[in-house]
Amino acid sequence: MSTKTTTRIVGAPVPRKEGIDKLLGVARYIDDIVREGMWYGATVRSTIPRGFIRSIGFDRNIDWSEFIVVTAADITGENRIQLIVDDQPCLADGQVNHCDEAILLLVHPDKHKLRQAVDAVRIEYDPLPPIFTIEESERRDQVVWGSDNLLKDFSLEKGNVDSVWQSAAYIVEGEYRTGAQEHLYIENNGIIAEWSAEKGVTVWGSLQCPYYVHKTLVKIFDLPAEKVRVVQTETGGAFGGKEDYPSTLASHAALLAMKSGHPVKMVYDRMEDLAATTKRHPSRTRHRTALDSDGKLLAMDIDIATDGGAYATLSATVLSRATLHAPGPYSCPHVRIRARSWATNTVPYGAFRGFGAPQTIFAVERHMDEIATAVGIDPVDLRKRNFLHQGDTTATQQLMREPVIMDQLLDRVLEESDYNARRARFARENPSSQVKRGIGIACFYHGSGFTGSGERILNSLAGVDVMPEGKVRVLVSNTEFGQGTNTVLTQIAAEAIGIGYDDVVMAPADTGLVPNSGPTVASRTVMVVGRLIERAGKQLVAMLRDQAGLGTNFTREQFFAACDRLRSAQGKVVSLVRYEAPPGIFWDDQKYQGEAYPSYAWSIHMAQVAVDMVTFSAEVEEFWAVQEVGRVLNPVLATGQIEGGIAQGIGYALYEKVLLQNGHMANNQMTNYIIPTAEDVPPIHVYFEEIPFQYGGYGAKGIGELPHDGPAPAIVNAIKDATGVSFHSIPLLPEDLFAEFAACQAHEEPASL
């Protein structure tokens, strides 16, 4: 067990591995790269949400002999993006199911000629009636996917929920909705592809999961695995938005490369990226909750519905995480959850930091405040009475074996935020003020790693090798896109081996070079892959002791000399290890029972919000976040993750609204899709409590997604505290606040005749 030892490099705020390149402006993102003889690709997209393609025509004002055109007919393998369900075409073939679906591709040596050419392709359709909402899909107004529009459903039950209603002191019901959210990574999606008969397909690009892209390209081109190579380039933000979409874009660029015989670059502009790529799933969650007279939870009946868009993509796994986070960090003897994801004629919704959890945590944490009002106790007290503790079981009957310190986190956040004094002050000041202030809380966990049996199925392989020039390389397919993968994994390797941070580098994320250590998603990299690197580093040292005469204590020079001896004898110095599940893990995929996640990170957020009752703007004035994420391996990076996630969560609650018009994103510009700026983010106070997790890399749990889960409910609870008005949906822009306040006022003060 590594968690009790003192460490030299793990836990230290070492500088970001690739930081200097980024600061000098020399880090190479995909649009900074030019290949010899490179041409430029563009996409012709559907302008209707659903229908048959009747004809494709080309305006005569363009000299089409300069262009190469690719359609579905050019695909030599399967016209399918490989994910969970095999339903999404790479290029529409005869039918479109959402606006901005790719139909046809163009390539030309001069990128400035593409826009006019895209506009000169005339596609005629026989439209079919579209559906755009969860309710239309549930009613089967039109069947747009499969036999019933249902992309996926889960149900689970603990105890017997229906046995409780009659004896309950309180029954509280509520419905909560969340909107779509755009990742708005500042670097748009982009890929460069090359094709040759001899080498097959090679792509470079801005992406999270090289082996996901690899899997799709193998099928699209019907090639053996070794003839497809995927290389991640420096990636300017992702947040889940570059988890599955790059498989589509890489296929497009590679098809154009094959047909044109040139390297092809495709980099979206902002409008195309916003209109055509994935967003966070909109959701509707209904709660019916029974409590005893002391405000103890007796039963939770939860119904979840998400809008999955036109194809299945990742909706099943997003729904799974939504389900498993829906009951919140509370102990409840009877829980029933029914979850469904519905198809509509919009761009498929996809992975976004939190992956379903922010949606259902918004619902349960808003609902807890509604319950507190119904029971007549403070929202903080209600939560404290119901927290999960070590030894309790969750809704999936998972026994909490590890410490659960929600009470300790609560004490800390109350103290740091001076909660009681602030509430008293606002109660005093609000009646005479145009600006109403309130403070709101959200308590939550986030499961680290793949759900249920996911990590065993992934069966990740990772390791380290040693280069003749005296550098250890970390061999993983996990990628850096700002979160700190490079830094933390090299810290772990250096620590495990006993050499310096500068002696370790990352191998390029190139499927021709690195093993498949799984995707860079699900807050799994540091906990799961970090553990593999820790084991691989220790295994390397043991190997050098056994086979190359390395002593018990060694200097850097002695270490690399031993590596040289081993290399002379064996040709290479490499140490690989495979995933091993923590013992005692059981998961039943049918009943949704068992160990949903190997570990959980725990957190409480507190938000102070000011609502101006004249302008109807809500502003977050101060924010506190306490969390237990296992061991913190790099405090500067970890703090940055928490702060960045909170800023995105503030946007989710108060600024970011995806407006669809006939299924097309109408505000697909940074001008009118608004994210928090430097002037909108409040002071954020971040505190860590550390309880090392013995099966995580040097004691770490997942951290990346956790901070996005709490801000929205904390903020909307604060708005209720400030104004007395309960909001049940986000986002809440001034017009949304105005509408609800006006409705409440009309309700309270009926107009006189």
Partner: protein, 169 residues
């Protein structure tokens, strides 16, 4: 090669440049395509995100909104001009120390905005920092590490100019 375009002359990071391109070509494209200075990034193409921020005659501009004809005779500074002789600019060092860069795509523009801010004001208040960076979007950091970086960068600048003044004496 002869082009139909007039020669436009300006300096970039102190070096003389002359290009023959359409005069309405955007400064960002000239920097990235004609001068191979790819440190300046495009995030939106409409002057909203600030990733393409450069300094033009000492003013902070979005280079995606500047046609090259406006740059005739001007002095342009990009992120590539911040470090000198292998030494990071105090702001670059501070961003490294304080975690001010995550994915790094907004960083060049953010550094230029920060440089503009502290060149005019070595003791910026938090409100002035927020205002100075308000035109530059970052989606990773939540800005807090960036604010700390700017404060640290400004104080390092004060330290190093104090040292220079001391040495000059």
């Amino acid at each position: 090669m002869n082009t139909p375009w007039p020669t436009i002359r300006f300096t970039v990071n102190g070096k003389d440049c002359a290009v023959e391109v359409p005069p309405m070509k955007r400064l960002i494209d000239v920097l990235r395509e004609d001068l191979q200075l790819t440190g300046t990034k495009e995030g939106c193409g409409e002057g909203e995100c600030g990733s393409c921020s450069v300094r033009l005659n000492g003013e902070l501009v979005n280079s995606c909104l500047v046609p090259l004809l406006q740059v005739e005779g001007a002095d342009v500074q990009t992120v590539e001009g911040l470090a000198s002789k292998g030494t990071l600019h105090p702001l670059q060092q501070a961003f490294l120390d304080c975690g001010g860069a995550q994915c790094g795509i907004c960083t060049p523009g953010m550094l230029m905005a920060a440089a503009q801010l502290i060149e005019n004001n070595l003791h910026p208040s938090m409100a002035e920092i927020r205002e100075g960076l308000a035109g530059n979007l970052c989606r990773c950091t939540g800005f807090i590490r960036i604010f700390e970086s700017v404060i640290a960068g400004a104080s390092q600048t004060i330290d190093s100019s104090a040292k220079k003044a001391h040495n000059a004496r």
